[in-house]
């Protein structure tokens, strides 16, 4: 029997030995560790803002508050979610394609650039209070009466590093799908690409003799989400360069005219690109992850696989045409764009995400009876999260309702936070619990009780926080502002309690993971592996 201290140092039952890990396993675990550290940072920032919404306190000034508000979603999305998702996909794509990753070196660069880039923009925001928010509405990011150009330039450089790392991931994914490993029979690169992007699936819907899918369904989802990632990376990089031009000019004593950039055109351009994350790659990656988890949990193929593949392609096209729902309150935006892109095409997300929801549930249903494992319960939590958040988003993407919902706490509560914290994060936790034994060569989870608390604390905390923010939003409470006179106090107290529950749940999860792998094991993940880089998991002895 091990003591608590021994377990903390050596891990549960000494089942985890970092020396047994392949370089790919170590790299994937590094992505996971950094992703969880940044999740913790984003959660602490979130809690600071929750307390500030209850009672503004002097330790955090107004400028610091908005610096946190700017960094919080970016750390959450890029530092945490991108890290976890990219790390998992760099492992899963070669795992499912049964061939080595195209470039281990490139994957290492992706890890380093995203980890460092996130630190750069977070630390810069902490020091300089550069706070144009992630929306960067023109000309605020270049408003040098409120922000210092040097601080802004460092911040944008950090974002650019993240985007550069992401671009390397995009290359690595598509090359891994299509390349022929050394010594292998030549692979049908075009056929693999057509299958990955969904053209084979679409054609199969109309063919009598169906063609075989060359890539597994989850890889197809990853490939399609990665297309959105590439487009979004390009958009953010271009926008960053534009803003940098203004900053560099200002630093050298030349103030460029803000009016040289049309604010509405810029807003359309930037939301087109930014929305490829929220309404593109997140939804597509999540659908693919649901399919992967459902088939791993049940050991059976996904229900109506051809339709699932076709729906993923439809989702990709839909994601390119929905950005205008972010501009329903912009009166200069053409009405046709508001109705077609903002309302009608956006409503299609109810269909595409609903299909993924149904297909996942049907796959699980047909494999009854199932044991209620950690991956299964977190997967169900993730499904519930999106079932709550997507309709909430569809409601606000309505010309009539948007007039009284835009920029209220409704948008950021029941839609954004429930989608990210409950839908996305619980799906990611499901994947973490599922992949943990594979990535660690059989580490044993320390405490099921802590895992249960993690589940209920996260689910109730996430749904509760979103619900109370939403109630405040329906009463008129705005996002992106500070209320000094306790205008929405009861809702903010309840949202704060829910946020604290979320933080406690994360603490329980972190403790459980540390006790599972041990401090020695955690350090060992960052040492060099002597095994072959081309092996995903150790070859059987």
């Amino acid at each position: 029997m091990m003591t608590w201290k021994q377990t903390l140092v050596e891990g549960n039952e000494r089942a985890f030995d970092p020396r047994s890990l392949t370089p790919m396993q170590k790299l994937t675990l590094r992505f996971v560790i950094v992703g969880l550290v940044y999740y913790g940072l984003a959660a602490i920032e979130g809690m600071i803002m929750r307390i500030y919404q209850i009672e503004p306190f002097s330790l955090v000034g107004t400028r610091q508050y908005f610096g946190i508000l700017t960094a919080h979603p970016l750390v959450g999305i890029f530092g945490s979610t991108y890290m976890l998702v990219i790390g998992a996909f760099l492992f899963v794509v070669p795992y499912l394609m049964k061939k080595p990753l195209w470039s281990f070196g490139l994957a290492n660069w992706t890890w380093g650039l995203i980890a460092l880039g996130t630190f750069v923009f977070w630390f810069d925001g902490f020091l300089t209070h550069y706070a144009p928010l992630y929306t960067l509405y023109w000309p605020l990011p270049a408003d040098f009466t409120q922000f210092r150009p040097l601080g802004g330039a460092i911040f944008i450089t950090g974002i650019a590093m993240v985007m550069a790392g992401t671009a390397l991931f995009v290359v690595n994914v598509f090359k891994t799908i299509t390349y022929t490993p050394e010594g292998w029979e030549r692979q049908p690169g075009r056929g693999l690409l057509a299958s990955a992007l969904g053209f084979t699936g679409i054609a199969n819907l109309f063919r009598r003799r169906k063609r075989e899918h060359l890539v597994p369904l989850p890889v197809a989802a990853i490939a399609r989400g990665t297309v959105d990632m590439a487009l979004n990376t390009g958009t953010i990089l271009f926008t960053g360069v534009l803003i940098l031009v203004y900053m560099v000019a200002e630093m050298f004593g030349t103030s460029l005219k803000h009016s040289a950039v049309d604010a509405l055109l810029y807003k359309n351009w930037f939301w087109w690109g930014l929305d490829l994350i929220a309404d593109g790659l997140v939804l597509i990656f999540v659908a693919g992850t649901w399919y992967l988890l459902a088939s791993m949990i049940t050991g059976k193929p996904v229900f109506m696989q051809n339709v699932a593949r076709a729906a993923l392609l439809v989702e990709l096209v839909v994601s390119w045409t929905v950005w205008s729902h972010h501009l329903l309150s912009d009166q200069a935006q053409p009405e046709a764009l508001k109705i077609v892109s903002g309302e009608m095409v956006t409503a299609f997300e109810l269909v595409t995400q609903g299909l993924a929801f149904f297909i996942t549930l049907a796959t699980l249903w047909m494999a009854r009876p199932l044991k209620m494992t950690n991956p299964l319960k977190f997967l169900l939590g993730g499904l519930l999260g999106f079932a709550l958040a997507v309709p909430a988003g569809i409601l606000q993407a309505d010309v009539g309702l948007n007039r009284i919902l835009h920029n209220t706490q409704w948008v950021v509560g029941p839609h954004v936070h429930v989608a990210i914290l409950v839908g996305l994060t619980m799906t990611l936790y499901s994947a973490v619990y599922m992949l943990l034994p594979i990535l660690t060569n059989g580490a044993k989870l320390w405490s099921q009780r802590l895992a249960n608390f993690h589940f209920w604390g996260h689910l109730l905390g996430g749904v509760g926080m979103g619900a109370f923010m939403g109630m405040a939003g329906l009463q008129g409470m705005l996002r992106r502002t500070i209320y000094y006179n306790g205008e929405f106090l009861p809702f903010m107290i309840l949202a704060g309690v829910s946020g604290a529950l979320l933080l406690l749940a994360f603490g329980a999860f972190l403790l459980n993971i540390v006790m599972t792998v041990g401090l020695k094991g955690a350090i060992g993940i960052f040492t060099r592996s002597r095994l072959d880089r081309k092996e995903l998991v150790p070859a059987p002895a």
Partner: protein
């Protein structure tokens, strides 16, 4: 007398419908979680059920906008505002995080269709009307270099504050003009 459909009525309806939906979907997932741990004889899912679900999603998505267009009074008025002659217009400008109003208080008669024409001279702002209890009447975005106009019909008496509903930097959080708009002459109070 039947009360006018205003933002409070619409939000009350939304709260009711969404709450019922949220409780229902949580119950469905809870029931599902319970049932999948139980053995079943032939656990099949018929494609007909799948396609019926797809049909339900399509009808729900499209009908939402048809229903709101036909029940929320400001939705058709907003889309067709270029063809409607307002009873009163207010030209408002914003610069350096301050609203410049045409008068200290904007007076509106009951039943007037009022055009708020807001111009930004520097940053992107928001323009919203709020009741004394901080609930929102309406809002729009205010983009520099473009026309930002909103047509609204007032059918209840009330005094409203103007507030910027968009973040325009830390200096923009105090962009509130208390009691800036007053509506009189109606038989009901908002």
């Amino acid at each position: 007398m039947v009360a006018a459909v205003d933002s409070e009525t619409v939000l009350w309806g939304q709260t009711l419908i969404y709450t019922l939906y949220a409780l229902a979907i949580a119950a469905v997932i809870g029931w599902f979680a319970h049932r999948i741990t139980r053995p079943a004889r032939a656990p099949a899912v018929r494609p007909a059920l799948f396609w019926s679900f797809v049909g339900l999603l399509v009808v729900s998505g499209v009908s939402l906008h048809i229903v709101t267009y036909n029940t929320i009074p400001w939705a058709p008025m907003d889309i067709n505002r270029a063809r409607i002659t307002p009873d009163k217009s207010f030209e408002i400008s914003v610069a350096d995080h301050e609203f410049a109003l045409p008068s200290d208080r904007l007076e509106i008669d009951c039943g007037d269709k009022v055009l708020f024409d807001v111009e930004s001279r520097d940053l992107t702002y928001g323009f919203g009307l709020f009741r004394p209890d901080n609930s929102m009447v309406f809002q729009m975005q205010v983009i520099p270099g473009h026309r930002n106009d909103l047509l609204w019909e007032f059918e209840e008496d009330g005094v409203y504050s103007i507030r910027s509903t968009e973040y325009s930097g830390p200096e923009g959080i105090d962009m509130v003009v208390p009691d800036a708009v007053r509506v009189t002459g109606c038989s009901t109070q908002d």
